[in-house]
């Protein structure tokens, strides 16, 4: 149990565009311990979803290493990779588009068994579907409903049941609650926490919602324009954000508490383009603490305090 469940080394994913290479994920490395949750945070276009998909080899990484439980995923043959998928799953953001509209609840949940030819007996499979529905809190009477007849919360429960069917150890959660209303969001978050406790799951939790990720994760990694800029244990990150972008991001969360007003750091401008970025600090054009060095060289990730990594020239320990 000492080796981490997942180790990602120098992961890169570039996309070809008419204007040049788009550096969606650029040299991202991290490890993920068994049973823990890593929150991957950033704004749209920062490459967090692509990272999640690249780790599962749903989109082929450009380069890097993904070591899952001692297995080098990128070296597996297609059929070995398909078998490996029983161990690692994904829950999608949009419960409206991640379910085939032509599949009933039962068909969607039993699909994993069909694909891997696991439970061939019909009655057995039906029993297993019902058990999974109980696990995720879906009423059994919905078994023959179609997704469009259900609301977002219930659809997300189907997505979770489908992901759990094969008994995975690792689940990438790609903004699983962003499309849901607050009251439903809390129901789903509680369910996911409970499942983690009961089944010993390891999560990579991708989100843009910082208050959710604080509630949910043990560690948080912040991404900006394809780069990981800071990674730290959750409370350390909230107590001592070191990267200027993390600081701005944290200060930008509107807090639903009238007695707690933080001083806001407003960023200038908007994201620059991730196409063929210059080899300098990618945040330098919006950074309030920028120095000359930032416009000359690209900072590297370094550990400033135990477990707290940051890629900024100006950051030091606390």
């Amino acid at each position: 149990m000492n080796t981490p469940l997942l180790e990602v080394k120098n992961l890169k994913k570039y996309f070809k565009t008419p204007n040049g290479m788009l550096h969606a994920v650029d040299d991202v490395s991290f490890t993920l311990e068994r049973g823990s949750t890593l929150g991957l945070v950033g704004e749209s276009g920062c490459g967090k979803s692509t990272t999640g998909r690249a780790i599962l080899c749903l989109t082929e990484p450009t380069s890097g290493q993904i070591i899952f439980d001692g297995q080098h995923l990128m070296k597996l043959s297609p059929s070995e990779l398909r078998r490996q998928r029983q161990d690692m799953q994904i829950i999608f953001q949009d419960p409206y588009s991640s379910l085939d509209p032509r599949f009933t609840v039962a068909q969607a949940i039993e699909e994993p068994f069909r694909i891997h030819k696991l439970i061939m007996d019909k009655r057995e499979r039906h029993k297993k579907v019902l058990a999974l529905m109980d696990t995720v809190g879906l009423a059994r009477r919905l078994i023959n409903s179609y997704p469009h007849e259900l609301d977002g919360g219930r659809r997300q429960r189907i997505g979770i049941a489908r992901a759990l069917a094969l008994g995975p150890r690792f689940i990438v959660c790609d903004e699983p609650v962003s499309a849901l209303d607050v009251s439903i969001q809390a129901q789903i978050l509680n369910l996911m926490k409970q499942l983690q406790r009961e089944l010993g799951l390891t999560y990579l939790f991708i989100t843009h919602d910082l208050s959710v990720v604080r509630h949910f994760s043990d560690d948080i990694a912040v991404m900006y324009l394809g780069r990981m800029v800071e990674k730290a244990p959750t409370e350390a990150l909230f107590a001592h954000p070191l990267h200027p972008y993390t600081k701005a991001l944290l200060s930008a969360i509107p807090i639903p508490d009238i007695d707690r007003r933080t001083e806001r750091i407003l960023l200038k401008g908007e994201l620059s383009s991730p196409i063929e970025p210059a080899k300098i600090c990618r945040f330098s054009n919006r950074c309030g603490e920028c120095i000359d060095l930032c416009k000359e060289e690209e900072p590297l990730m370094h550990e400033v305090s135990p477990g707290h990594f940051v890629s900024c020239f100006r950051a030091s320990g606390y």
Binding site: D151, V182, Q187, S211, I253, P254, P256, D257, E270
Partner: protein
């Protein structure tokens, strides 16, 4: 103070920018009638900002569209009620009269900036259009004003003649704000203006809106599902459930002296800032099907405090102060006088 006060306005009419009374809106479709607004009351005093908070399907957007008199019809039908804007009854206006009010006395910002601008018209022309229409001036006279508006929302003049697809989401929303404010409206309706934007961009836009509201001294209706944004920008809050205001009050009333179980549930669904790892206490169940609204209090099937009466009669309005009222059977007069917050 008791329920009878609901009939008369808590504050005098002439100081109200917006006054909605008992508004009922239905969407009559083939599949059945959707009861979107079921007797909503909303008042915004001049110069103040009211946050309209609720979840999907609660009737927030319908309220905004009703004020603009832009509810798509069919299938939308305004069944009863009244809307007064600056003392004038909107629902009695002809389409022609409404066209002098929209964009001029009241403006609206919509949720999705990506689709709210005409893709084949340069952005500056889309601002000029509203100025020309209401100030009856020529394109040559309106151009400088439109450029000025763009600059005010932080878009450089040299990008004025570009098309919407050349702008990012945040900048498009700025353009839409410029359109909304071009004729200095008395009331601005903002329907989830930052939901589609990133957090840091949201912070920029909210900051700008706060500045502009001060500059124009206008009233504002902020429609949102995010209690954090309410704190940022609102003076008053109305919590809406199932097309009706269930709790209304100042920021402090709602955030500190929470009374309605639904409002409480909303807060409990959010991670606690003091103790972020504490387990969430979500509201059980789901929003009611808007074609089949529960009898009595529409929240009773999900309410942890529900009593027999809740399933039978709709609760009346109980006032804790002139501005803080709640529609819930838990608050008969005694409870209100003792002023206790709901304890579990």
């Amino acid at each position: 103070m008791n329920q009878n006060d609901a009939v008369t306005a808590p504050s005098p009419m002439d100081s109200l920018e917006l006054d909605i009374r008992d508004l009922r809106v239905e969407y009559r479709t083939m599949e059945g009638t959707v009861y979107a607004l079921n007797g909503i009351d909303l008042q915004i005093p001049k110069g103040r900002t009211l946050g309209l908070v609720g979840e999907t399907g609660a009737g927030k957007s319908t309220t905004g569209l009703a004020i603009m008199n832009l509810i798509p019809s069919p299938p939308g039908v305004i069944v009863s009620g009244s809307i007064f804007l600056g003392g004038e009854s909107i629902l009695k206006k002809s389409e022609k009269e409404m066209n002098l009010i929209r964009g001029n006395k009241v403006s609206m910002i919509f949720q999705d900036p990506m689709t709210s601008l005409n893709p084949v018209v340069p952005v500056v022309d889309q601002i000029m259009e509203v100025i020309e229409h209401h100030e009856k001036i020529s394109p040559r006279e309106s151009l400088p004003k439109a450029l000025e508006m763009l600059e005010m929302v932080g878009i450089p003049r040299n990008r004025a003649h570009e098309y919407p697809h050349q702008f990012s989401g945040g900048m498009k929303q700025r353009v839409i704000i410029a359109i909304a404010l071009a004729c200095s409206p008395y009331l601005l309706i903002a329907d989830e203006p930052t939901t589609a934007l990133d957090v840091t961009i949201q912070a920029q836009v909210l900051d700008m809106m706060r500045e502009l509201r001060k500059k124009y001294q206008m009233s504002m209706l902020m429609i949102t599902h995010d209690l954090g944004i309410v704190v940022e920008i609102c003076d008053l809050v109305a919590v809406i459930y199932d097309g009706r205001v269930v709790e209304h009050g100042t920021l402090r009333d709602i955030f500190i002296n929470t009374r309605h179980p639904y409002t409480e549930g909303l807060f409990n669904s959010l991670p606690d800032m003091e103790n972020p790892k504490a387990e969430l206490k979500p509201i059980p169940g789901l929003m009611p099907d808007p074609t089949r609204i529960p009898t009595g209090c529409p929240f009773h099937p999900r309410c942890g405090y529900a009593m027999d009466i809740c399933a039978k009669t709709r609760p009346s309005r109980y006032y804790a102060s002139t501005e803080h009222y709640v529609e819930c059977h838990l608050y008969d007069e005694k409870t209100v006088v003792s002023g206790g917050r709901i304890k579990q």
